[in-house]
């Protein structure tokens, strides 16, 4: 029996991250990177207290984890498959760097979210 490809699994994460970023990416960047820093949102929207309360809430925690990890898996998969187009051999080293990087980011996000408590 042939060895099963791991690509459908990574493609699923790529697709989920791509969909989430396509739907909410613009809104997220607008809130966290443009509107809040420029004072176009109430000051509390990104305050330590409110973000901590959001991160301690179960749904908020799941949302933050999904956004950070799925965005990373989406980007890692796409970068890995674009390497060939740039003349870089997409071998084991590239695979470990791309998917390994996304995995490290996912673990760090989970650790930070668990660290802040519930």
């Amino acid at each position: 029996m042939r060895k099963r490809s791991s690509q459908p699994f990574f493609w699923l994460l790529f697709g989920a991250g791509g969909m989430l970023s396509a739907l909410l990416g613009m809104g997220l960047v607008l809130v966290t990177g443009v509107a809040a820093p420029l004072g176009l949102e109430p000051p509390s929207v990104m305050s330590y207290g409110d973000v901590l309360a959001f991160g301690r809430n179960g749904a908020g925690k799941a949302f933050l984890f999904a956004v950070v990890s799925l965005f990373l898996w989406h980007g890692a998969h796409r970068i890995f498959h674009t390497l060939h187009d740039l003349g870089v051999h997409a071998g084991l080293v590239a695979k470990l760097a791309c998917y390994g990087g996304a995995l490290v980011g996912t673990v760090v996000a989970a650790a930070a979210l668990l660290w802040i408590g519930f």
Binding site: G17, G18, M19, S21, A22, L23, L24, G25, M26, G27, L28, V29, L30, V31, T32, G33, V34, A35, A36, P37, L38, E41, P42, P43, S44, V45, M46, Y48, D50, V51, L52, G55, L64, V67, V68, F71, L72, H74, G75, A76, R78, I79, H81, T82, D85, G87, G105, V108, A109, A111, A112, L113, W115, I116
Partner: protein
């Protein structure tokens, strides 16, 4: 054995040869910016876990002109990602048949972009209301 000198077509800058390839590479390049934004948020999560002073330092960095300029660029890139994502969608999903006719690709793309704009606007409004 004689060394064969077969012609190898140079591939340097191949994607600049055709506007179609250029759009393809632009679409693929959005992934680098998606990762960059994810890392900014991840950095914020770590700062959040470290305490209020460290988190406020992250907020101060977010308010710097360099960061705001980068996020304006990110906004444009995410808009392109949204459009290109739903432009491919008719090719990646099973055909949708409505009233015996296959739903045209343009309708799927337009619907996807409309839902994304509505979802992003709702997120923005929700953040304002809940804050």
């Amino acid at each position: 054995m004689a060394i064969r000198r077969t012609y190898l077509r140079p591939m340097d800058g191949w994607w600049r040869r055709d506007p179609f390839f250029l759009r393809y590479m632009a679409r693929e390049a959005t992934s680098v910016f998606v990762v960059a934004y994810a890392l900014i948020l991840l950095w914020g999560l770590v700062r959040l876990a470290e305490g209020e002073a460290r988190f406020d330092a992250w907020l101060a960095w977010l308010a710097s002109p360099l960061s705001v300029a980068f996020h304006v660029l990110l906004l444009a890139v995410f808009a392109y990602h949204t459009w290109s994502w739903f432009a491919i969608m008719p090719k990646t999903m099973p055909p949708v048949v409505v009233g015996g006719r296959r739903l045209p690709a343009r309708a799927i793309t337009a619907a996807g972009v409309a839902v994304a704009v509505a979802a992003s606007a709702a997120l923005f409004a929700l953040a304002t209301v809940l804050a």
